[in-house]
C-alpha cells in the first residue's frame, strides 16, 4: 500500500458544542466591532484578541494544565483553529506560539522554560516568531550559519535570521543554530534555542513586503547570551527537532483557508442565481475545500494518536496552498473589477490585498518544490 493514508476520523462529542461556542464568540466579536473578518487572518497581530482567546481557553488547548494548558484533544484544537480561520479572526499574534513553538517547548524545553513561558502563551500574552531561514539558507535549511559557542552557563549566539515574521512585536523566537562545525553529515551539529527578544545582543530590522506592510524582519545576533536552560532537547539534535516542528507547521487549516474570506465574498458578489460558469467554478472550489478539510482533519486525528504524518502534511499543504492561490486567479474573471490597494473594505480591495499576499502562500512553511520533494521521499523515490 501507499506511503500515505488519510484515515477517517470520528469527532469527539464535545467538538460540536465547541464549534458552536467558538462560532458564537466570533460572531459577538464582529458584532462588537472588535474586528472585521479578513483574509490571511493568521498573519494579523491583535494582542487584545489573543488575550480574549487565552481567557476562553483557545490557546495551548492540548497542553497539560500544570503549564496553563487545557488538556483537550488535537481534534478539539483543530475545530477551534478552523473556526477562527473561517471566521477571519485576527489570531496572528498567538498563532505561531500556539501552533508550533509551545508544542516544541512542551516536548523539548527545560522545566524552567515550560513553567515560565507556556502559561503566558496559553493566556494569550506571549508571542513567538520562527527562527529558521537565514540570508543564505532558505529552502536549504541545513545550510544555517548562525553559530553558538559554549560559554559559562550558556551559549553566545552570533549570526542573522531573516524573513522573521512579526519579530518586532513578538517576545521570543526559536532559533536553529549551528553548535558544531559542519561535517559529512550536514544535518548534525545543529541545536534549537529559545531566544528572548527583549534581551540585549539581538536586534530587529524591518523588511517591508511587496504590499508595503511590515511583517518580515531581519534579526541579528551579536554575541547574544542564551542560558543553558534555553536549549531545546539535547545539543546537536536541532535537525530532528526542526523537522518535527515543521509537521505541526504544515498540516493545519491555515494552509487552505488563507483566502476563504475572498471565496465567501466572491460567492456573495455573484449572488443567488449564478450563471453557468460561475456555478461551475464555485462548485469546483467547494469540492476542493470540502476534500482538503477532510484530509486536514484526518491529519489532526493522526497527530492525536501520536503519529508523525510528514507526507500527509506535505500533501495537504501543497494542495491547500495551490487552492488558496487559485481563488483570486479564478474569481477575477467572474467578477469584473480591478484589484485595489486598501485594507479589504470593498471587494476590489479584498481581491487586491489577497493577490499581493498570495505569492507568500506557496513559500512560507516550505516551498511547494520542497514539499514535493518531501512527498517524493515518502513515496520511495529518493
Amino acid at each position: 500500500m501507499h506511503a500515505f493514508r488519510f484515515d477517517p476520523v470520528r469527532m469527539p462529542a464535545s467538538a460540536q458544542a465547541l464549534r458552536s461556542e467558538v462560532r458564537a464568540f466570533i460572531a459577538a466579536e464582529v458584532a462588537n466591532g472588535a474586528f472585521t473578518p479578513s483574509c490571511n487572518s493568521w498573519s494579523s497581530f491583535d494582542a487584545d484578541f489573543s488575550r480574549k482567546c487565552g481567557a476562553r481557553g483557545y490557546i495551548g488547548m492540548r497542553w497539560p494544565k500544570q503549564y496553563g494548558g487545557h488538556e483537550r484533544s488535537a481534534l478539539e484544537r483543530h475545530v477551534v483553529t478552523e473556526e477562527m480561520l473561517a471566521g477571519g479572526a485576527p489570531v496572528g499574534a498567538h498563532w505561531i506560539a500556539d501552533r508550533q513553538s509551545g508544542q516544541q517547548i512542551l516536548r523539548y524545553g527545560s522545566e524552567r522554560a515550560k513553567h515560565t513561558i507556556l502559561p503566558k502563551i496559553a493566556s494569550g500574552e506571549c508571542y513567538f516568531s520562527i527562527g529558521m531561514s537565514e540570508p543564505d539558507s532558505g529552502s536549504d535549511l541545513a545550510a544555517v550559519r548562525t553559530r553558538a559557542n559554549k560559554t559559562e552557563g550558556g551559549w553566545n549566539i552570533s549570526g542573522t535570521k531573516v524573513w522573521t515574521s512579526a519579530a518586532h512585536r513578538t517576545n521570543y523566537l526559536i532559533a536553529l543554530v549551528r553548535t558544531a562545525p559542519k561535517e559529512d553529515d550536514r544535518h548534525a551539529g545543529m541545536t534549537q534555542f529559545i531566544v528572548d527578544l527583549s534581551h540585549s545582543g539581538v536586534s530587529v530590522r524591518p523588511i517591508y513586503n511587496l504590499y508595503g506592510g511590515h511583517d518580515f524582519n531581519e534579526v541579528v545576533f551579536d554575541g547574544f547570551f542564551a542560558a543553558d536552560d534555553m536549549v531545546m532537547g539535547d545539543v546537536g539534535t536541532g535537525w530532528k527537532l526542526v523537522t518535527s516542528e515543521l509537521a505541526f507547521e504544515r498540516s493545519g487549516p491555515d494552509r487552505f483557508l488563507s483566502t476563504y474570506q475572498l471565496l465567501v465574498e466572491s460567492i456573495r458578489a455573484i449572488g443567488a442565481d449564478p450563471d453557468a460558469r460561475s456555478a461551475n467554478e464555485i462548485g469546483r472550489f467547494v469540492a476542493h475545500l470540502a476534500t482538503l478539510r477532510r484530509m486536514s482533519t484526518s491529519v489532526a486525528g493522526m497527530l492525536e494518536r501520536g503519529a508523525q504524518p510528514m507526507v500527509e502534511a506535505a500533501l495537504v499543504k501543497d494542495m491547500g496552498t495551490a487552492f488558496e492561490r487559485e481563488i483570486p486567479e479564478t474569481f477575477r474573471h467572474l467578477i469584473a473589477t480591478e484589484p485595489a490597494l486598501g485594507d479589504g473594505a470593498s471587494y476590489a480591495e479584498l481581491l487586491g490585498m489577497t493577490m499581493l499576499r498570495a505569492p507568500g502562500f506557496t513559500l512560507r512553511g516550505g516551498t511547494r518544490e520542497i514539499l514535493r520533494g518531501v512527498i517524493a521521499r515518502g513515496l520511495g523515490l529518493r
Binding site: I270, R284, R294, R372, A376, R382
Partner: protein
C-alpha cells in the same frame, strides 16, 4: 476500517489475483462474461455487501462495502459489481426483495425517461434507455421513474429489451434497452427514485475512480523506479518526482472525497457529499491518468502494459452518472442559493 472489512479486502485481492488475469480482462472486452470471477465474488457475498442485513446483506458497514468496491476497481475487475450493489440497495430501500445474479440500473443517460403505466394486470414499462452498463449481460434491470407524480422503482427482465451494445473506452458493455409495455416483475414507491439512482451511481463511480487511481499510482512508482535512463532510474529526476507527488495528491484527494461521501451516505446518498466526491474524483481521474501516462512514456501507451486497464476506466467513469461540470454546477447552485454565509456551516457539517 473494521477487521471484517480488512478480511474482505484481502479476499478481493485473492479472487482478483486468481480470476482477473490479463486474458480474462481481454476476453471480457471482447464480450465474454467472466463467469469464474463473478461466481467467486458472489460466493464471498461481495455482490450483496452494500445491502442492509435485513435485506440479505452481510452486516458490513456501507463505507466498508464501498472500500471493497474500490478494491475491485483497483484490480480493474470487468464485472458489474457497482451496478449490482447499486441496484440491490435501491431495491432494499424500496422494500423490495433482491434477486440473485448480476443486476443493472436504468435509465442512466440524462434525458432518458422510462414511463411506468399502471394497468389492469399490473405496471408496465415503456421507453428507451441508452448506455445501460452491462445491460446485455444482466438478467434484470432495476428501473427508476415516476408514477402519478411520485417516485417509483421497478424490477424488469432485460431478456427481450436489448437493442444494441456499445462499449465505453474501457471496453465495458453499455447496452441500449427498449421496453414496450414490458411487465414489471415487481415495483414499489421510492421517493425521488431517478435522482436517487443518479446520486447513488455517482457515489459508486467515485469509489471506483479512487480505486483505479490507487493502482495507477502504484504502477507509476514501480515503473519510475525500474526504468533507467541517463544511467539512473527516472525516479531520481526531480521533474519526475514532482509529477509523481502531484499524482499522489490527486489519489489522496479522490480517496478522501469518496470516503466522506460513503460515510455520509449510509442510509441514502447525501447529495452534497456525493456532488463533492464525483466532482473531485472526476477531476483527479483526468489529471492523475495524464501524469501516470507521462511517467510511463511509450510503454504505458501500449496494450502490453497493464496501466490502460485502469486509465481507460478512469476516462470512462468520470463521464458516467454526471461529469464534473454537472456536479460542480449543482454544488455551485446549492451554495449560491444558500448564500455565502451558509457555506461554512454546510461544510463543517460533513
Amino acid at each position: 476500517m473494521s477487521e471484517m472489512c480488512n478480511d474482505l479486502l484481502n479476499t478481493v485481492d485473492r479472487i482478483c489475483d486468481e480470476h482477473c488475469s490479463k486474458p480474462v480482462r481481454e476476453s471480457a472486452e471482447a464480450g465474454a462474461w467472466p463467469a469464474a470471477l463473478w461466481q467467486a465474488l458472489e460466493e464471498v457475498g461481495l455482490t450483496r455487501a452494500a445491502l442492509p442485513e435485513a435485506a440479505g446483506g452481510s452486516g458490513l458497514a456501507f463505507e466498508d462495502a464501498m472500500l471493497a468496491l474500490r478494491r475491485s476497481a483497483y484490480h480493474a475487475a470487468p464485472v458489474p459489481l457497482a451496478e449490482t450493489m447499486l441496484a440491490g440497495r435501491l431495491l432494499a430501500a424500496a422494500g423490495m426483495s433482491v434477486p440473485q445474479g448480476a443486476l443493472t440500473v436504468a435509465p442512466v443517460r440524462r434525458g432518458d425517461v422510462l414511463r411506468f403505466v399502471q394497468g389492469a394486470s399490473g405496471t408496465t414499462l415503456s421507453g428507451s434507455a441508452h448506455r445501460v452498463p452491462w445491460g446485455n449481460l444482466c438478467a434484470h434491470a432495476v428501473v427508476a421513474g415516476e408514477l402519478e407524480g411520485k417516485g417509483v422503482l421497478g424490477l424488469v427482465s432485460t431478456a427481450r429489451a436489448v437493442r444494441g451494445v456499445e462499449k465505453n473506452l474501457a471496453g465495458e458493455p453499455r447496452a441500449l434497452l427498449e421496453f414496450d409495455a414490458a411487465p414489471l416483475l415487481a415495483s414499489a414507491a421510492l421517493h425521488d427514485a431517478p435522482a436517487r439512482l443518479e446520486a447513488e451511481g455517482a457515489l459508486y463511480r467515485s469509489e471506483q475512480m479512487a480505486g483505479a487511481l490507487e493502482r495507477t499510482l502504484e504502477y507509476s512508482l514501480q515503473y519510475a523506479n525500474e526504468r533507467v535512463q541517463f544511467g539512473r532510474p527516472i525516479a531520481k529526476f526531480q521533474a519526475v518526482q514532482h509529477m509523481l507527488a502531484l499524482l499522489a495528491g490527486q489519489v489522496a484527494a479522490a480517496s478522501a472525497a469518496a470516503d466522506a461521501a460513503a460515510e455520509a451516505s449510509g442510509l441514502a446518498p447525501d447529495a452534497f457529499a456525493v456532488a463533492v466526491a464525483k466532482s473531485r474524483a472526476g477531476e483527479a481521474a483526468g489529471k492523475g491518468a495524464e501524469i501516470a501516462h507521462q511517467v510511463h512514456g511509450a510503454m504505458g501507451y501500449t496494450r502490453e502494459h497493464n496501466l490502460h486497464y485502469n486509465t481507460r476506466r478512469l476516462w470512462s467513469w468520470r463521464d458516467e452518472f454526471g461529469n464534473e461540470t454537472y456536479w460542480q454546477s449543482r454544488l455551485g447552485r446549492i451554495v449560491a442559493a444558500q448564500g455565502a454565509d451558509a457555506l461554512w456551516p454546510t461544510l463543517s457539517r460533513l
